[in-house]
Symmetry: C2
């Protein structure tokens, strides 16, 4: 008989949490029961899993009694507080926050890239940052076939990376702008909730995602650099692949864009070979037909699990160097889907 799992979704009412419910509904995981957990403020809300109406409960350590699998996206401090409690009670946790990503004994996993790492888990598996995941999807087939030397990436990140409230803020500001009103009054969250100043994103660009650190990088930029190394090289400080990043928030609700410049070890690699390697990688869709103006766009990627790659072309002045443009739904492959996909692999690999 197939084993069935008792699943808890922590942070069930957020933009990612709601999508975790949807992705779990569509997954291959045999689900016995679903428990929706959130803060006291959200407790009592009703949400559906398939045809079943569920009432959101306030999270306590005891919430995890009898739970086999936790999918978590309620913020770093919530994960830090509750996931050890869940592990203590025998659950395996897939965490979409940054709480444990850099812990040495916590695998940081994009299933198509490094599912082998799941074998070393001790109860917690971390889901990488959204902007890291889609970059890994596009670059791992390149690394495997041609070797990767350097990555220089500029991101075009959607408001939803800062949650559902940031989408609403963007829309409010946009309406104010179109009505000829001042947008500043609506700027309460972005660029990042925890910081002092807030700026409008609508019809604007904000080169700050997460807090800015003393080294000059934003925390988001720092995460992309070190998560890439941990995923591809199992060492967050390795210089085997050099990475630098500039992260910018753009007035788009859902789906991140990334302009990625990369150099490969095999200097004879051709654009066609690189395009083919990317296209053959599970989870990737190459949209790269310039004659017909086909290239990835956020409005087309929204709601899809895949990572879309286009505008692949050489840097004609540097052998082994290329540019490409990558778009993916930051709430799905960048968050909810990658989390549920990790859980699917845990089940398939008999690691839960």
């Amino acid at each position: 008989m197939t084993r069935e799992y008792n699943v808890a979704i922590l942070g069930a009412t957020g933009a990612v949490g709601r999508r975790m419910i949807e992705q779990l509904e569509q997954s291959s995981i045999p689900v016995k029961s679903v428990k929706l957990l959130a803060s006291a403020r959200s407790a009592g809300k009703k949400l559906k899993f398939k045809d079943q109406e569920l009432i959101v409960e306030e999270t306590t350590p005891e919430s995890f009694e009898g739970i086999d699998l936790v999918l978590s996206s309620a913020g770093g401090s919530v994960s830090k507080k509750f996931l050890p409690e869940a592990v203590k009670r025998g659950a395996v946790c897939v965490d979409n926050t940054s709480a444990f990503r850099m812990d040495e004994d916590v695998p940081l996993v994009v299933p198509e890239v490094n599912s082998e790492q799941l074998k070393h888990h001790h109860g917690i598996i971390a889901n990488p940052n959204c902007s890291t995941i889609q970059m890994m999807m596009a670059l791992e087939p390149v690394r495997k076939k041609f070797g990767l030397k350097q990555i220089i990436v500029s991101t075009y990140q959607a408001a939803s990376g800062a949650g559902q409230a940031a989408i609403e803020e963007l829309k409010k500001e946009a309406q104010a702008y179109l009505d000829g009103k001042d947008m500043q009054a609506d700027a309460k969250i972005l660029p990042t909730k925890g910081d002092k100043k807030h700026y409008p994103l609508a019809f604007n660009l904000l080169p700050q995602i997460d807090v800015l650190e003393d080294n000059g990088y934003s925390h988001e930029e720092w995460k992309m650099i070190h998560e890439t190394k941990k995923i591809m090289l199992n060492d967050m400080n390795s210089q085997d692949i050099k990475v630098t990043t500039t992260c910018v928030r753009v007035p788009v609700p859902i789906s991140h864009g990334e302009s990625i410049y990369f150099t490969v070890e095999d200097e004879n690699a051709t654009t066609d070979e690189i395009r083919k390697a990317i296209a053959n990688f599970s989870g990737n869709v190459v949209e790269d037909d310039i004659k017909n103006q086909i290239y990835p766009q956020p409005i087309n990627a929204e709601g899809k699990r895949e990572t879309f790659i286009g505008r692949i072309r050489p840097d004609y002045e540097n052998k082994g160097a290329f540019n490409m443009w990558v778009v993916s739904d930051n709430l799905l492959k960048g968050a909810a889907w990658n989390t549920v996909e990790i859980a699917e692999y845990l089940v398939k690999m008999d690691l839960i």
Copy 2:
């Protein structure tokens, strides 16, 4: 007695043309008379120069009789047709289209960078592409002091680069989106007027500016590469500075953003020295105070003549390599102001 100039503005009714009028009003050029020229469709419209009401006239070769200075922004084909006629009649033309930019005997000028080139003009001076100009402003002080080896740039370009109608299109689409309606019906110009397919820009990203060429680059990307070499090295095909580009249209009405990665010859150059060199360059404003969340934003740059530079920081894994974020009003320093500024230099340098 100071010489006074008869000035014609070609393409006076467009987004750039209207700003040329404003910039000329505020310039140091002694203006005797202003003639506003446009297509037959726009003839008869009334516009003001200072307190004077002027009627827009249809452009003919005879329009340029008695004109000393032409400021032109009516599209490449119009420039090709009429500017030689104006030169024949003794006028000096500053052209904001791409018509003559790559002609060997036409100087391509950002006054702060290469005003010396004005001395070699034969009646036509070309204004570079908007995205090239602000990159030159940010990088020329770096090149002069530390030597430039490589530029890798990703652009975040405003709708107004495609004209006033593209701004209106963006706003219409945004309102449709906020009203829950389909945006496709409003997509008639972008990504580029001359191409087959049109896509919504509102709440979206379009990695196509101008037409896509067989080499995989868009024409905008090609322009940034070759104009940079012509401006900095006087040779559009030189490899002394290697340049590669990815150009993306973003849902912003006015002001382009650019994420620029660059490497310098002097590997001991520090971030502080680079910041200082950029700040001391006339026309630049450094907005780079991360403790106080100060960095360039399009909504702050709009309406200003300066180029704003921030987020300057090293690539910690490559000596002599840096990232920065540059924003400027694409219709002013990127177009109308740079054009009028060239004319100011022509007057000052006694070249007209």
